[in-house]
Symmetry: C2
Subunit: 455 residues, 2 copies
């Protein structure tokens, strides 16, 4: 909130947009942090959003869109006239272009790309053919490349002549290619501090430069930058031709995005980001798609209880313990899921090391199962004064904790081998299996000991 | 696994350590990726770990420790003789030193720091006084700073003379200070491509350089690097004196660590990382500390059921639906928690915007509550042929979904304002409240309609 006027940033932004003064809008947005920009834009009306982006020049508009989350930027783009959207997209950096288009609907994306200049459209279409979590999907295509025969002096001249033009390009490295565009070497800015001016740059460059292939995965890129203290690496095709550059910061951004997606899937937000500025029906519908799978799984699990209605009718106190056994097994199992997901993500465990994880988890399950079972059994005895009730409830919780902890530890490994997303699938599978198992143990034990429980 | 020998990397490492040949160990570890290094070291015996780090020279050992997670590295350090540990710690980079010491026990840390050279120990102790998630806690103290009166030629000479020594220091920027160590300017490597050699560097440098204060928070640093395309920023104290440099990559690393901690807390792994190479009792105990809070909360929630035993005895079918209502409300509520946490983290919502979030969430809660309630009510009617049972179950699930979704949306905001960790506290509070509320709604409704349900 603005302390002087008492107005929220979006109220002020809406007023400024109404003036139609592009310079005023630019200088106001320049003063906001990226978070505040995202907030202000998400809160003004769709009409004001349209007006705002139509008023700004495309370069400036692309800069503003870069500061807000991709899903939100795509929502804004879809509302704009296709020509305006195409101009803004053309002004964006290559990797931002690809990220934005990935969030657009297919039809909207086509309509916008069709209106871009043919060369840019072709470049973007080419970029879009690479899967998002690969070097091709992460790289930028803005870089400096020079022929190997160029003289050192001419390179320095070129840099000085195009100083302004190159200002937007990150020139930590310059790449050297042969006549077939094959990558031959790399020059660092520091190599130009004392350049041999009258020799071809092929004599100054670092030869045999490191590079990655266009189809290498995000995980491989992470490992590459872990091992090499570089700011960027050239991307080549299978012939060794230079296609683009993957920067360290782009890899870090992609990793951060992946862990956000993981956190959201883990909590049942599926199909990408949800922001509260999105339409109600789409928010409710996407959440419901996940909930409806869960309710079916819940009904299946509860059917175990339905088979033991006579036992329940005889010992009604059991009904009090069923939800607790279900919830506690979920908690114990989820801890093991989290440790496995973390160990998998940093490579401390491999998906095929099922036995090792089982051994490590069952030990924790037995220890914690005994403690929790004794605790709940004790509460049952104190409450009803029946040692057998305590025995049934305690043994059931102990046994089910062992099941939940070992299953929770193994699930992410097994799902990973089945190419399923552990963040998405572990939770529902764990809950369903441990519910069924827990209900079965407590109710079948109670059925066997029915005489003692009702005596 | 090594394809030729069929041996796992740690089996090979253990054998190589037994040879006692430091060069062999170094070249073997150099060939492993950081993930594989962490894995191999975590799997060899504590004795072999000791032998390994005692054999390597401290520089090399510090490099290896850098590649494995801090918690694991600290475990290794604690097992080493304090002199060896001190030598390794001295060889590590300043920010790694601070991260490592933060994971050590207080006594172990003291014993190791006491054995470092006095100047280094003092530097490290100074670094440790800064809170971890601030500029002081994240900065490195290895940087190049020159007096403003130095001539351009002398600076270039210094760089050439110390080329090897400076190789480890990231020299994207050099800093210029006055006689009181006050930050006066910044030089980029590219400014040295055409340096005015006979003039003092104060004439070439960028004056009024950007800087951050030593107590700025991680969040403020994130915003700083979002706004400014810089690789690093100098850190100054309240007098403007240069203390260190925060690099973009360090901020990204700190943010990634924070989101890992968040994911683990969210799943009930509290008090830092858990790896399966840690001792069983400490793993089980830490998980149990979280589970025992949950079981108490569960007992409190279940006490609501205990108050309605007569109703349950009369309509035993209700016992089948209790765990489902508990579980489904947890699912719906957690979705809202995740959206709030995500919106809070990117600043789309502020902790005081309770009304906005409530309005947005209650709408989703009503829609999804009606759909889920109708579904579960329908199942109840199909199963027992009693429309009133369907009504009770359906209305209870609908009402409790509304409660869970609005509460889930609000909890992270409220907890944030109370300075509690939403990732840690949201889950248990949400489950307990929605369980109590759900059990109460279904059982009190059933009590009112008891005649119709048993008829």
């Amino acid at each position: 909130m603005n302390k002087e006027t008492g107005m929220e940033s979006w109220e002020l932004l809406a007023r400024i947009v109404e003036t139609g003064d592009a310079t005023l809008i630019e200088s106001y947005l320049d003063g906001l942090s990226p978070n505040e920009t995202a907030r202000a834009i998400s809160r003004i009306s769709p009409e004001d959003q349209n007006r705002l982006f139509a008023l700004l020049d495309p370069e400036e508009a692309a800069g503003v869109l870069r500061e807000i989350p991709d899903a939100q930027a795509a929502d804004v783009m879809e509302e704009l006239p296709a020509d305006t959207a195409a101009a803004i997209l053309s002004a964006a950096r290559s990797d931002d272009q690809a990220d934005l288009v990935a969030e657009l609907g297919d039809e909207e994306a086509e309509a916008i790309i069709d209106r871009m200049a043919p060369a840019r459209a072709a470049g973007l279409r080419k970029l879009l053919t690479y899967p998002p979590d690969t070097a091709g999907g992460i790289m930028i295509t803005e870089f400096l490349a020079y022929r190997d025969s160029l003289l050192g002096r001419d390179l320095v001249d070129d840099l000085e002549t195009h100083r302004d033009e190159y200002a937007d390009i990150s020139v930590q490295y310059m790449y050297v290619v042969d006549k077939d565009e094959k990558l031959k070497g790399v020059l660092r800015m520091r190599d130009l501090v004392f350049p041999p001016k009258t020799k071809p740059i092929s004599e100054t460059m670092i030869t045999d430069p490191m590079s990655v292939e266009v189809d290498q995965t995000l995980h491989e890129l992470e490992l590459f930058f872990e091992r090499h203290a570089l700011l960027g690496v050239p991307v080549v095709d299978s012939n060794g031709c230079l296609l683009g550059v993957v920067r360290r910061s782009d890899v870090e951004e992609a990793v951060a995005k992946r862990s956000q997606r993981q956190f959201l899937s883990f909590s049942g937000i599926v199909g990408g980001e949800e922001f509260r500025s999105m339409p109600l029906l789409s928010r409710a519908g996407r959440r419901l798609s996940w909930l409806s799978i869960n309710i079916v799984l819940n009904i299946i699990a509860a059917s175990v209880i339905a088979m033991y209605q006579d036992t329940l009718a005889a010992v009604i106190a059991l009904a009090v313990f069923l939800p607790m056994i279900s919830d506690m097994s979920g908690c114990s199992g989820n801890q093991a899921v989290a440790v496995s997901m973390r160990e998998l993500s940093i490579g401390l465990v491999r998906p095929n090391e099922v036995l090792r994880v089982f051994g490590k988890e069952i030990a924790v399950g037995i220890l914690n199962g005994i403690v929790l079972g004794a605790l709940l059994g004790g509460v049952a005895i104190l409450w009803k004064g029946n040692a057998y009730l305590g025995l049934v409830v305690g043994v059931a919780l102990a046994a089910n904790t062992i099941v939940a902890v070992s299953l929770g530890g193994l699930l992410p490994l097994v799902l990973k081998r089945m190419k399923l997303d552990p963040a998405l699938v572990s939770g529902p599978v764990l809950t369903t299996v441990t519910d069924m198992c827990g209900f079965f143990i407590v109710l079948s034990l109670a059925t066997v000991l029915l005489g003692r429980l009702t005596g």
